[in-house]
Symmetry: C2
Subunit: 244 residues, 2 copies
DNA sequence: GTCTATAGTCGGATAGAC
DNA sequence: GTCTATCCGACTATAGAC
């Protein structure tokens, strides 16, 4: 089976001690991962050839062996990279939300504001940025046939993102945030954002758009915001409900 | 580039006349396509080997050449197959909806009923059925890097599905069904259903489910139905709006 | 129409020079 | 640490027997 094996080592654990400092080696590793994300994203693990990986990275073939113990190691390093980058982007807002929820019981308006902030960040990142195109294909392949790479991304990013979303949706529906219904809603919100990346070609053709950036991205975000607000009952209607 | 070329012929056009009747040939073709959907779904075009295709189909290697003029031909035949099967399942309800909308101006309740029916059919098919697992990966890869196969599926299925959904969403939002905002909503509805297939591994882990079938599929469908109703203002609220 | 045998190419990984 | 040269298995496609 052409899938990552257990042979791969941690991408930053050297097989031989560096000659001194971290200069060349880490640079080369970064070049390889950057190129590999694109190649694995486009062709998948089996379809990607080590020769293409090396060529796009501007290194020679044995470098993949030396730095990552082969193709499977490069693949896992890509998963690590994706998890790191997503964490860096989503981490701060997740932390904010967790912090607010831990210290107070926010008003309905406040919950909506946090949810909108979260989904906007999500949309800017996943729909708006070029580099995630490769990540998304990488991740969806892993969803269909999970390997160790899926665990890395799920544990470090996806799990926390959905839980955070559910912690906002739960109170808005007057249900515990672990309720399956709440989780379905949270997943649906994240899913509808993601769709504008995964089905991008179809979205562009349907809308007659050249891309989803600037005003067009803003339109998508605002429509989805309205949709989320209405789907959860809205702030005004809920306040009314609370008074009764 | 390891992508389908123009060399592929129509999958049902024989290179040589049949000996009489359609017996063996079409059976073999069907076996090959069925196996190929799984293999291309799992490994992608580049990652799929003709050896594996032949083995899983229970035919010998040159059969792929003979019946489909090679790997690329088999790939296009898969796209054709996916489009046909989706058309068969979604066609009737799309026809129903088109027919109702052409002959009358349905009530708000009626529009919701049609929309729910459409999305339920969509969910039963895409989330509930095993065989679409391979289709979805096939299609998402095509979304990222469209080939001729994407045109086939987009023109025959996707375009009509989204337009139909928009024709129900438009009236419910008091906007023309071609308005970008309406299309964003329609895409979001379809996207949130699809997410439960594309991100299945994550959904199962988050929910702690073994699959999305039976009661669990029913839960997803009912939660999404509620969500769609609320997101579009609901039947009761809208009737109120109309009276004012 | 169906299959065996094989041609020609490209794949991942490594040996060993520097 | 870095690279050239190379091994050998797997790949797609075809020739030609039946």
């Amino acid at each position: 089976m052409p899938m990552p094996t257990a042979r791969a080592q941690h991408p930053h654990k050297r097989r031989h001690p560096p000659t001194g400092g971290y200069a060349r080696g880490d640079e080369t590793r970064a070049k390889i991962v950057a190129a590999a994300l694109e190649v694995f994203g486009t062709y998948g693990f089996a379809g990607a050839s080590t020769r293409l990986l090396a060529e796009k990275a501007g290194v020679n073939l044995p470098a993949l062996q030396y730095y990552f113990d082969g193709k499977a190691g490069v693949y896992l390093a890509c998963a690590e990279h994706i998890a790191q980058r997503l964490e860096a982007r989503l981490g701060p807002i997740i932390k904010d939300i967790t912090h607010v929820l831990a210290s107070e019981a926010p008003s309905r308006e406040h919950l909506f504001a946090l949810l909108h902030g979260f989904l906007d960040t999500y949309a800017d990142l996943l729909v708006g940025e070029r580099e995630v195109e490769d990540w998304v294909l990488f991740i969806i392949r892993e969803q269909a046939h999970p390997t160790k790479a899926f665990d890395i991304i799920f544990d470090r990013v996806f799990h926390r993102a959905v839980r955070t979303c559910a912690m906002l949706v739960g109170p808005l529906l007057d249900l515990p945030s672990g309720d399956p219904k709440v989780l379905v809603r949270a997943l649906a919100f994240i899913g509808q954002v993601l769709f504008f990346r995964t089905a991008r070609a179809a979205v562009l053709r349907i809308q007659g758009w050249p891309d989803v950036k600037g005003d067009r991205l803003a339109l998508v975000k605002s429509a989805l915001r309205e949709q989320v607000t209405a789907a959860l009952g809205g702030a005004a209607r809920a306040a009314r409900r609370r008074r009764s």
